[in-house]
């Protein structure tokens, strides 16, 4: 610091020139032109109502994303300001559709992002497809998104504007086979699939695949959501001597089922209890008390994922720790899933020459091949157009170490669908 240097910033003359030009521009009424330089991105998720568990962490993720994009993004040599318009469906599918139409017609959004469950995603994707607005989504089985919205197997994709990434039945199959082979069992699987969109899709598509791999499926038949007594199913599972249980229930149904199963002594006989849809978030597992420990689960994101967010630059651990510090609550797998949607969405915007052109954005989505905080998103090589399958990693809820901040720990037990994710623990037998 001995030599006198020319300051790095603007010289006095440059400053005056810039300020003069800016003032001139403003007085001459060019200001509205700035408005077209703002990218408007709609974000729809369930923040309240029965699905609110999914949306609970969205506030934090939005904060992280908005902070990272506070200075706008550079696309094709131009800086755009970013405005994210977030909306809450209140877990209501028809409201989701209305919100989408409002964002499209009244806010003139350039890209729609929508996350979590068929009830949220499908109505929004349909509205976008109808209005010709690019839409990207994640966190629901892709089969229910693709075939559930009218696409036919073997035919060209009917969708031009909507794209979805994330797990599907094929990933569940790989994960379950890999997870269930970790422990010696009699390979008899008692299944509890409800009579709803997910349950029926799983029964029709997953069960036959599992049977092919040598598992015997004991299926008492579909039950209605809201059932308060499961004694007939429990009796069948006991009689058949199943050692693996696989369920896709909503959380209150699982609590009722599994407590009753324990009353009937079923919990002493099973070695693996593999739950999906329930047991995604720590609060639901804690509510089960001791019965929640050693439940098997599958995660679409885990803080051990070795990727960084392309939008926010944070790693999985940083994201989880940041959330815990900000909210005082335990991290959940939804954090990374929601952030991955922003990663993929903004990457598609960045890779287009003209982000204000809906055609160009949709084209950019169709050729998107990127890595988000939740892993690879690649629309160039999916099983069907418009879909990029993503991982679902086998996990287990275990008692946290003494002195930990939260009572339960969520550990990775297998990684068949994304070998980059480190396996953190061996699967423990439920009755062991």
């Amino acid at each position: 610091m001995t030599k006198k240097e020319k300051p790095n910033g603007l010289t006095r003359r440059e400053l005056l020139a810039t300020a003069g030009a800016a003032t001139a521009a403003m007085t001459m009424g060019i200001r509205p032109a700035f408005a077209t330089d703002t990218l408007k991105v709609g974000f729809i998720s369930p923040r309240t109502g029965p699905l609110a568990g999914f949306g609970e962490t969205d506030g934090y993720v939005l904060e992280v994303v908005r902070k990272a994009l506070a200075n706008g993004i550079d696309i094709a040599g131009k800086t755009y300001a970013v405005e994210i318009l977030d909306q809450d469906t209140q877990s209501d599918p028809s409201r989701a559709g209305q919100l989408a139409k409002d964002l499209i017609n009244n806010q003139a959004i350039d890209l729609m992002l929508v996350v979590s469950t068929p009830e949220t995603i499908n109505p929004v994707a349909d509205a976008c497809e109808a209005a010709g607005v690019p839409c990207l989504s994640t966190v629901m089985p892709w089969e229910a998104w693709y075939f559930g919205r009218g696409a036919k197997p073997g035919e060209p994709s009917p969708f031009k504007w909507t794209y979805h990434f994330g797990f599907g039945v094929g990933e569940f199959h790989k994960t379950y086979v890999s997870q269930w082979k970790l422990i010696e069992t009699n390979r008899k699987v008692g299944v509890m699939y409800p009579n709803d969109a997910d349950g029926n899709a799983i029964r029709a598509n997953l069960a036959p695949l599992l049977q092919k791999d040598g598992f015997t499926i004991v299926d008492p038949g579909a039950y209605e959501t809201g059932t308060t007594d499961f004694s007939s199913q429990i009796a069948l599972f006991k009689q058949e001597g199943v050692e693996i249980i696989n369920t896709f229930p909503i959380p209150p149904d699982f609590a009722t089922f599994w407590r009753q199963a324990a009353q009937q002594g079923l919990h002493r006989q099973v070695k693996i209890v593999q739950v999906a849809k329930t047991g995604l978030f720590p609060s639901g597992v804690e509510a089960l008390g001791n019965l929640g420990i050693k439940l098997g689960s599958a995660a679409y994101w885990h803080k051990a994922f070795p990727y960084k967010s392309s939008v926010a630059g944070v790693s999985g651990t940083e994201l989880a720790d940041g959330y815990e510090a900000a909210s005082g609550k335990q991290w959940t797998q939804q954090l990374g899933a929601t952030l991955s949607l922003f990663d993929a969405g903004f990457d598609a915007l960045k890779k287009t020459p003209d982000p204000k052109s809906k055609e160009a954005v949709a084209k950019s989505l169709s050729t998107l091949n990127t890595v988000t905080i939740a892993g690879k998103v690649d629309f160039t090589s999916g099983p069907v157009p418009n879909v990029s399958p993503g991982p679902i990693i086998g996990t287990q809820w275990v008692k946290a170490a003494e002195g930990a901040k939260f009572p339960l720990d969520y550990v990775v037990t297998e990684n068949a669908t994304d070998p980059n994710v480190p396996v953190g623990a061996t699967l423990l037998s439920y009755n062991g």
Binding site: P220, A222, G226, T227, T228, D229, P252, F281, G289
Partner: protein
């Protein structure tokens, strides 16, 4: 099959317990309380907060919650139901509907969407069981719930039959104006009855939290089963509520043993059959009693 029947009867006890307040309120005040389920969930949250955050033992939480909810019942009757009753018969029902919305969303604002349970407060009782001869298991908690339902209904019945306030409540239910002539203040009596209702709702909410899980919006399914049980049992009759709960529980478990989808359908089916039978043969409900009387006379 024996197992299914035993489980069905125990389940019926749970339904009777949640229906108890609904049917008591209807019998006394002729109001169908659509906030019943939400109030039970609110009581469960109250107990949850006291036991998790304030670390009180469960019995203390329960006593505090009962007191708070009784006061709440009094206030609901005085501030909402009394006033809306002046606007005609439909208005109190609509205002209880509004009340349930307010409660659900207030709970959501306060507690968020997390699934809660009172199971941690009772440890392994939530899934402990007794093994009976013949490989039959009965859960300790369902038995406790059943016994509580019977005791509660018996207590309410005794109170209505033998105490001063019970007689006042019955008189007001029959004819508030005439009751007023002999010095019974109908508004006061109704407020007491509402407070008693909310005590039963608190008990129901506590067992709901122990038996399953709850979140702010889980009141509606509870209301549905409570409503069915009380209608099957003959709305307003306390022992009928127990019978109604057991019939509903048995229908559901038997339906489920035919096919798991039969669980809810069988319950709803029995509910509708009994409802229509009531409408078409109004004196069917008292038939068993008359048959017994005739048998005794012969």
């Amino acid at each position: 099959m024996t197992n299914q029947i035993v489980q069905g009867i125990l389940l019926g006890g749970y339904y009777a317990l949640i229906a108890c307040g609904l049917s008591f309120m209807f019998s006394v005040m002729r109001i169908i309380n659509l906030a019943h389920g939400s109030l039970a969930v609110a009581a469960a949250y109250l107990i949850f907060v006291l036991s998790e955050r304030a670390q009180l033992p469960l019995w203390a939480c329960f006593i505090v919650a009962v007191a708070v909810m009784a006061v709440a019942g009094w206030l609901i009757q005085r501030l909402i139901l009394d006033r809306s009753a002046r606007g005609g018969q439909l208005l109190p029902i609509l205002s209880t509907f509004g009340l349930s919305m307010v409660i659900e969303n207030a709970l959501f604002e306060q507690f968020g969407a997390d699934t809660r349970s009172l199971a941690s407060a009772i440890g392994d009782l939530s899934w402990d069981s007794w093994e009976l001869p013949g490989g039959l298991y009965v859960g300790k908690l369902p038995v406790l719930i059943f016994v509580t339902a019977v005791v509660l209904l018996a207590g309410l019945q005794l109170m209505l039959s033998y105490t001063r306030i019970g007689r006042a409540i019955r008189a007001t239910a029959e004819d508030p104006d005439t009751a007023g002539l002999v010095g019974i203040d109908a508004r006061r009596v109704n407020a007491v009855a509402a407070a008693i209702t909310l005590v039963t709702v608190t008990i129901a909410g506590m067992f709901l939290g122990m038996r399953a899980t709850f979140e702010p919006y889980s009141g509606a399914p509870q209301l549905l089963f409570a409503f069915e049980a009380s209608v099957i049992g003959g709305a307003g009759s306390l022992w009928g509520t127990l019978a109604g709960g057991i019939i509903l529980g048995l229908a559901q478990t038997c339906g489920a043993s035919l096919h798991p989808l039969g669980f809810l359908i069988a319950g709803h089916g029995v509910f509708l059959i009994i409802l229509f039978a009531r409408l078409m043969f109004p004196d069917l409900a008292s038939m068993p009693a008359r048959l017994i009387r005739r048998g005794a006379a012969a």
